[in-house]
């Protein structure tokens, strides 16, 4: 692959990358000026033409989402920026916010002009304290410089941007859970329809976009939809529902690699390329046993599936749930898949919001069954029970309101279907793997 010049991460590691002065010195806010000279509908059209797909996990086309807003609505219309990044393995938005906050604020302002919104809320997970302080300072700079507030850049456009901190709950990354949480309620996802574009925050039309998605918007306005579509992978002719995977993407690499980190590459890089060329290879000279393609809720690739392109289509072909957040977690060949799956199930059980019974109970029982297997008391039929529970929870079987449950089920399905022999061996040889730390945590419940 020819060297790719980063766009979204271009300013990371520059001294003073967070200041307005340095952002402007690099041409910052030129895209906003350009957008404010365009009709809102033309900005929407440009983003729609680019086929920018949401970077938060679901991959829904952002421009198309914007067109779902009611026409000629008297307002208010809200933008919620989803900065609740909590999918295990994922940290790209944190880097964007900590290192280049103005790139995000410019994207927010352009998006708000496009959707005719005068109020944006950045819903930021509590744990990102540094992001909070960096964004707070950047927003203050923008108000002082006339880039936020009234009559922005003299173009008659008004916009207020507010930071809203979460309280450590994964479900707030689900867009209607986020809205409920912002309204001051428990973050129980809403039944859709109505979709937020029709009835969202404070029952008003609302768009929820991910941080990286909004950062892409800035560059699409600057360089054009054709530029964006020149990067990445065109639609797969074999899949009429594939819209293509265009643009740059931030890939997170963590787990058992020599060089964990975040890299920006055209969509479509393979898991193997990420690990070998960007992650410094598997650590300790070992081999990869399993690789999470896009956050744990997407499931696992096996060592034989590492040439899977990580675009919106590739992981599906390998039986994973999707590209997710493009957060790659590498598991080496010395690690037990039983332990890995237990970790995933424990996370989902802890983070299920409890609203839908199949998810609340399913995640709990899957975790308990894995606890029993790890305590040396597993039975072979437990594996089919796990698959049965996993197969009965989620939007796909139609038993839950949101997709958390599908993301809880997928690692179970992939782990048992792709690594069944290892699970069977673990059970029949009576292995045990309960660590003191886990006993401590279990006692703390």
């Amino acid at each position: 692959m020819p060297d790719f010049e980063p766009v979204l991460l271009a300013r990371v590691n520059k001294p003073d990358s967070t200041s307005l002065e340095s952002y402007r010195a690099d041409g910052g806010y030129a895209a906003l000026k350009k957008a404010l000279g365009m009709a809102p509908a033309d900005v929407v059209a440009a983003v729609k033409d680019s086929v920018l797909r949401g970077r938060g996990g679901a991959g829904f086309p952002a421009g198309l989402k914007w067109t779902f807003l009611p026409k000629d609505h008297s307002g208010p219309i809200y933008l919620c920026v989803n900065a609740d990044e909590s999918e295990p393995g994922t940290f790209n938005n944190r880097i964007l916010m900590e290192e280049d906050p103005h790139q995000l604020i410019e994207g927010i302002a352009i998006a708000c002009h496009a959707i005719r919104s005068n109020t944006a809320y950045i819903y930021l997970r509590y744990e990102y304290g540094r992001s909070y302080r960096v964004l707070e300072a950047a927003i203050k700079e923008c108000y002082a410089a006339g880039l936020l507030g009234k009559n922005i850049l003299g173009a008659g456009f008004n916009l207020d941007v507010y930071l809203h901190r979460g309280a450590a709950a994964y479900i707030c990354g689900e867009e209607t859970g986020l809205i409920e949480s912002l309204e001051g309620k428990r973050a129980w996802p809403r039944i859709k329809p109505p979709f937020p574009a029709i009835e969202g925050l404070f029952r008003k039309p609302t768009i929820v976009n991910n941080v990286e998605t909004l950062c892409c918007v800035t560059h699409i306005i600057n360089r054009g939809a054709a530029w964006f579509k020149s990067i990445g992978v065109p639609p797969d002719p074999a899949n009429p529902r594939d819209l293509g995977s265009f643009g740059p993407k931030l890939y997170c690499i963590s787990g058992h690699v020599n060089k964990p980190g975040c890299v920006e590459l055209p969509l479509g890089v393979t898991a193997r390329q990420l690990i070998e060329e960007h992650g410094g290879g598997v650590w300790k000279g070992r081999r990869a046993k399993a690789v999470v393609p896009g956050g744990i809720s997407m499931g696992f690739l096996t060592a034989d599936e590492l040439d899977t392109p990580l675009d919106f289509n590739g992981p599906l072909k390998a039986g994973c749930l999707g590209l997710g957040t493009a957060a790659v977690v590498v598991v080496d060949d010395q690690t037990s898949m039983v332990d890995v799956l237990y970790n995933c199930c424990r996370f989902m059980s802890h983070e299920s919001c409890g609203q839908c019974t199949p998810c609340r109970e399913g995640t709990k029982w899957m975790t308990r069954i894995l606890e029993r297997i790890r305590a040396g008391h597993g039975k072979l039929e437990d594996l089919d029970t796990l698959l049965e529970v996993a197969g009965s929870m989620g939007i796909i079987p139609g038993t839950t309101i949101c997709g958390l449950s599908d993301g809880a089920a997928w690692p179970v399905k992939n782990a048992i279907n792709k690594f069944r022999a290892e699970f069977e061996d673990y059970i029949t040889t009576g292995r045990r793997a309960v660590t003191p730390a886990q006993e401590l945590m279990a006692a703390a419940h």
């Binding site: 304290g129 309280a167 912002l182 309620k185 428990r186 963590s254 890995v340 983070e351 003191p436």
Partner: protein
């Protein structure tokens, strides 16, 4: 009254940001929790008065998050969260938690006798490139050993 005028003023300052005062529940809980190290029931009632909603609505939201401490279990001076999710667990996150638990003689969820530190496990902190990582209050520290964490907390 348990909430000082200064805390009340900070809560009221949030009102203009939202068309509905109920949206100030989380900001208000954070303000109170940071100051008092828990959210006592009396504070819930006073927040409810400011926001003009029922105290049960505040308690409902608060209890959902498992983030805010009730008055019988206040936080210590510092709150240390140790990440236990996959990327950290693959690189020693759970062992780090165990080690801190022994060093400080406190179980996860508890506070040291001297009130210096509360220890917690956390789900993914979003700093997976620096696993294992911890959050001290709301500041993340990456690639840390138990000794590193002790030093950070001791500062």
């Amino acid at each position: 009254m348990i909430l000082t005028e200064q805390i009340r003023e900070r809560i009221r300052a949030e009102f203009p940001k939202y068309p509905d005062k109920r949206a100030v529940v989380l900001p208000a809980l954070h303000i109170v929790h940071d100051e008092l190290r828990s959210v006592p029931h009396a504070a819930i009632e006073e927040i409810a008065g400011l926001l003009e909603i029922h105290p049960a609505e505040i308690h409902d939201t608060m209890s959902f998050y498992q983030f805010f401490r009730e008055e019988d279990r206040p936080l210590g001076k510092r709150r240390v969260w140790v990440c236990r999710s996959l990327s950290c667990a693959l690189r020693g996150g759970e062992e780090l938690l165990e080690s801190l638990s022994h060093k400080w003689r406190v179980a996860p969820g508890g506070t040291t006798d001297d009130g210096r530190v509360s220890l917690e496990y956390a789900e993914c902190l979003g700093a997976c490139e620096g696993a294992p990582c911890v959050l001290v209050n709301d500041e993340c520290h990456m690639n840390v050993s138990a000794e590193d964490v002790e030093q950070i907390v001791g500062e």
